[in-house]
């Protein structure tokens, strides 16, 4: 855990303590478990986003993909009687294909990632609404998938605390992503491409492939999150389901130390960023702040966080520049004298 992650953790604890002090319901088992469930689902697609941000790209279609693939998943298992395991695999595969297409458009056709994924945002949202004719997709009466429901939206009691399975999924995903990003060769390549694509290429890294892989991973993880959300909400209105989720993802990644210029960010940071966002959401609810202010609170906290970080970075630089100048003067002195 680096310094940035640590200060984020401290911030979460401080905010949590304040909320708990004002409204003790924050610490109720039911509330904590629900918040954790949100963290699990949001965390998975935030990690997905982080992969793309680390290579210096951006993925704006996360929310629309969650809506489209969620609708498709429910339709497959409810209306077409597809075996849920098969449907699960098909949805993940669709997510991977979406990522592949985005990656190919960015690297082969040289279209800016912002534009590619902005078009994706519009297209998938439209497709989801058209597919259901703007109606809500949901489970009918009697439709029941006990195993699937238990796996995705269920909770397991651990020492009397109901642990949501989405959090278990997040922990597994985060652990794998951590190893991949921070310990594997592929992770090194991701950061190298994000920091300086040209230098990475000169070091023999097939940077286009690395970039495409990042989008593919992002697509696959987003598809997984889409299934979790579908099973959690159990009914999807395609016009609003998952909207703005890409912004939650980007916010979590930025809070977690990712630079939108690429090459930076840690998995622990992204997970903590997600936690902070969900605690803030919870804070708005529990402190009786009008829920219309939800986004405003989130925006303000992120802005303050980024400003504080910038201030610290600049101060550190000033100190080191001053030190450097001192040394230079000392070194130059004998020449002039």
């Amino acid at each position: 855990m680096n310094k940035k992650d640590l200060s984020l953790l401290v911030l979460i604890l401080v905010v949590g303590a304040v909320v708990a002090f004002i409204n003790p319901r924050f610490l109720y088992v039911g509330n904590l478990s629900n918040t954790l469930n949100q963290v699990g689902m949001f965390g998975i697609f935030s990690i997905a986003e982080a992969f793309v941000i680390i290579i210096g790209g951006i993925e704006l279609s996360v929310g629309s993909v969650i809506a489209l693939l969620g609708v498709l998943f429910i339709d497959l298992i409810v209306n077409h009687d597809v075996n849920w395991m098969l449907a699960f695999a098909a949805i993940i595969a669709s997510g991977l294909v979406i990522g592949l297409v985005h990656g190919a458009l960015v690297t082969r056709m040289h279209i800016q990632p912002f534009v590619v994924t902005l078009c994706g945002l519009l297209i998938y949202r439209g497709a989801a609404r058209y597919y259901t004719e703007d109606a809500t997709a949901g489970f009918g009466f009697g439709a029941s998938f006990p195993t699937l429901e238990w796996l995705t939206a269920g909770r397991t009691n651990l020492l009397g605390f109901p642990v949501p399975h989405s959090v278990v999924a997040l922990i597994v995903v985060a652990a794998i992503a951590w190893v991949l990003l921070h310990r594997s060769v592929f992770g090194r390549y991701l950061y190298a491409v994000g920091k300086n694509e040209e230098a990475a290429r000169y070091s023999g890294i097939r940077s286009e492939r690395v970039m495409v892989s990042a989008y593919v991973i992002c697509g696959g993880l987003t598809a997984f999150a889409a299934i979790l959300f579908a099973m959690y909400t159990r009914s999807i209105s395609p016009a609003v389901h998952g909207s703005f989720y890409e912004l939650y993802a980007i916010a979590a990644a930025v809070l977690g130390g990712c630079s939108l210029r690429g090459g930076e960010g840690s998995i622990v940071g992204v997970v903590l960023g997600t936690v902070l966002l969900q605690v803030l959401q919870n804070l708005v609810n529990l402190l009786g702040i009008p829920s219309s202010l939800n986004f405003a609170v989130m925006g303000a906290v992120i802005l303050i966080g980024v400003l504080a970080d910038q201030y610290l970075v600049q101060r550190r630089q000033r100190v080191s520049v001053a030190k450097g100048r001192e040394q230079a003067t000392l070194a130059a002195a004998p020449l002039e004298g």
């Binding site: 310990r183 060769v185 090194r188 920091k195 990475a200 000169y202 070091s203 023999g204």
Partner: protein, 500 residues
């Protein structure tokens, strides 16, 4: 000749460890065309930057219309009528011609909105076009103009500022012959209007064609000036060279072996109508000399697979290989140390160890993961071997000096058993001590059987380090030199396209 309106007296400029200009004097009279010539790094550009107010000299005086100053600011240079036409043109290709000429000084209608008065803008631009005999309209979008036409726009901009002196930095380096001719006519027209010109060039026949005077710089010193009557290519070359070259040369332990890398009629992007052929032998350092822009870096990029080959073949140990990307070259044991190490060679805010292991991470695997202990160990060994001066291999590369950064780039490849090493400007921005160590390392590598292609614009380096020299001129090899033929004169002759 009329009185000079601009005089540089005893101008010096030193950077830490380098004297770029050493008591240079230069006087410019109205309507005079001065050619500024000299080898790469002789101080030509620095001198012009002093005139433009971009570089502050560390000593000397500048006299403009009798007023003496120790330095010019950019604003003072503009007021004095000094204008620059840069090699990389400073134009906006989303504007039209007139918009570029009067950028920041657009005529406006009265009123609070200050709307641009287009009629007036075009009316003011037309006479400038006429003066240069330009064949495009004031409202032509810049994006549709050729490079030569853009250059004229840049000159018009200078004239619209009432320039008395126009400085051109290698104005013809990317022009065709007919475009060059037209530029020569423009220069003559400016001269007729009493505008002075200083142009930096490597093309001696252009100097012959239009200069009143040629001023020659070498190692930051003015070594001579030739009047129109004295001008000849031989006289210019004689002045450009003639420096004492310290003998750096260390002969190889064994005579060079068979050819390892064969470049057969390779065509690159920049010079699609030229081909390059050369071979580098086992255990030799082949110096690749030539002026900036002669196509050497493009050749290196093509061999390493950064750019696609437009034609020809690359052979390694006699067998043709297909190199479509750097990975393919690396897998064959061909490595490139690029000219621009900050942009292409290193990840600046990453540690020394991670930079070194980057191209070879596959051999650091332990259960699919990077074995950081082995990484650190190997990096430490390289630091030892190459004498990289850094507190630890966890130090970020960006905080190192130029020489130590270059050693890190070298270290990347050393642990991977190079067969061919292409070294583009090995010691640019490298201090003297580290330079020597890099040369020693090159010799140790060739003694171990590596074939080295060393691109260098530093004459001392080319002559002092190479076992053989190939010289490039405008996208083709203009000649090879053996050690017995090594001289600055011969290299320079070939570099400007004359036979030895």
């Amino acid at each position: 000749m009329t009185e000079p309106f601009l005089e540089l007296v005893d101008i010096s400029k030193s950077y830490p460890g380098v004297v770029a200009l050493d008591h240079v004097g230069l006087a410019v009279s109205p309507g005079e065309v001065i050619a500024l010539i000299g080898e790469n790094g002789a101080g030509k550009s620095t001198l012009m930057k002093v005139l433009g107010g971009v570089v502050e000299p560390s000593g000397g005086r500048i006299r403009v219309d009798g007023v003496e100053r120790s330095a010019l600011t950019v604003a003072e240079a503009i007021t004095a009528g000094i204008a620059f036409v840069h090699q990389e043109l400073n134009l906006f290709d989303n504007l039209d011609v007139a918009g570029n000429v009067f950028i920041g000084r657009e005529p406006v209608h009265g009123g609070p909105l200050r709307l641009i008065d287009r009629k007036e803008l075009y009316a003011r631009t037309q006479p400038l076009l006429d003066r240069l005999g330009a064949d495009f309209a004031p409202d032509a979008p810049l994006a549709e103009l050729s490079l030569a036409q853009r250059q004229l726009v840049e000159i018009m901009k200078a004239l619209s500022l009432d320039a008395r002196l126009v400085i051109m930095d290698e104005p013809t380096s990317s022009l065709t012959l007919s475009e060059t001719d037209r530029l020569m006519r423009v220069i003559a027209a400016l001269k007729a209007h009493g505008v002075s010109i200083i142009f930096i060039t490597h093309r001696l026949n252009e100097v012959m064609q239009c200069a009143d005077r040629a001023v020659v710089l070498r190692d930051g010193r003015m070594v001579g000036a030739l009047t129109r009557a004295e001008l000849s290519p031989a006289a210019m070359i004689r002045l450009m060279i003639g420096r004492d070259l310290k003998s750096l040369y260390v002969p190889p332990a064994a005579p060079p072996g068979e050819a390892v890398l064969d470049i057969v009629e390779v065509v690159t992007e920049t010079y699609p109508e030229r081909t390059v052929s050369l071979s580098v032998r086992r255990g030799e350092i082949l110096g690749l000399a030539g002026l900036v822009g002669s196509g050497r870096t493009e050749l290196a990029r093509a061999i390493f697979g950064v750019d696609l080959l437009r034609g020809g073949a690359i052979k390694l140990n006699g067998e043709a290989i297909r190199v479509t990307n750097p990975r393919a070259a690396i897998d064959q044991g061909i490595y490139l140390i690029p000219e621009d190490r900050k942009a292409c060679g290193l990840l600046l805010d990453v540690s020394i160890a991670e930079n070194i292991s980057l191209p070879d991470l596959a051999s650091y695997l332990r259960f699919f993961l990077v074995n950081t202990a082995q990484e650190t160990k190997n990096a430490r060994a390289q630091r030892e071997q190459l004498k990289i001066r850094a507190p630890d291999v966890a130090t970020t590369v960006g905080s190192l000096s130029g020489g130590n950064q270059q050693k890190v780039v070298l270290a990347k490849w050393l642990s991977m058993r190079p067969k061919v090493l292409i070294f583009d400007e090995p010691t640019r921005g490298v201090d003297v001590g580290a330079k020597q160590e890099i040369y020693e390392m090159l010799r140790r590598l060739t003694d171990a059987g590596v074939a080295i292609l060393m691109i260098s614009s530093d004459m001392e380096e080319v002559i002092g380090v190479s076992d053989r020299i190939a010289v490039m001129h405008e996208g083709a090899i203009s000649g090879f030199l053996d050690r017995s033929q090594f001289s600055e004169h011969n290299v320079l002759q070939l570099a400007v396209g004359h036979a030895v």
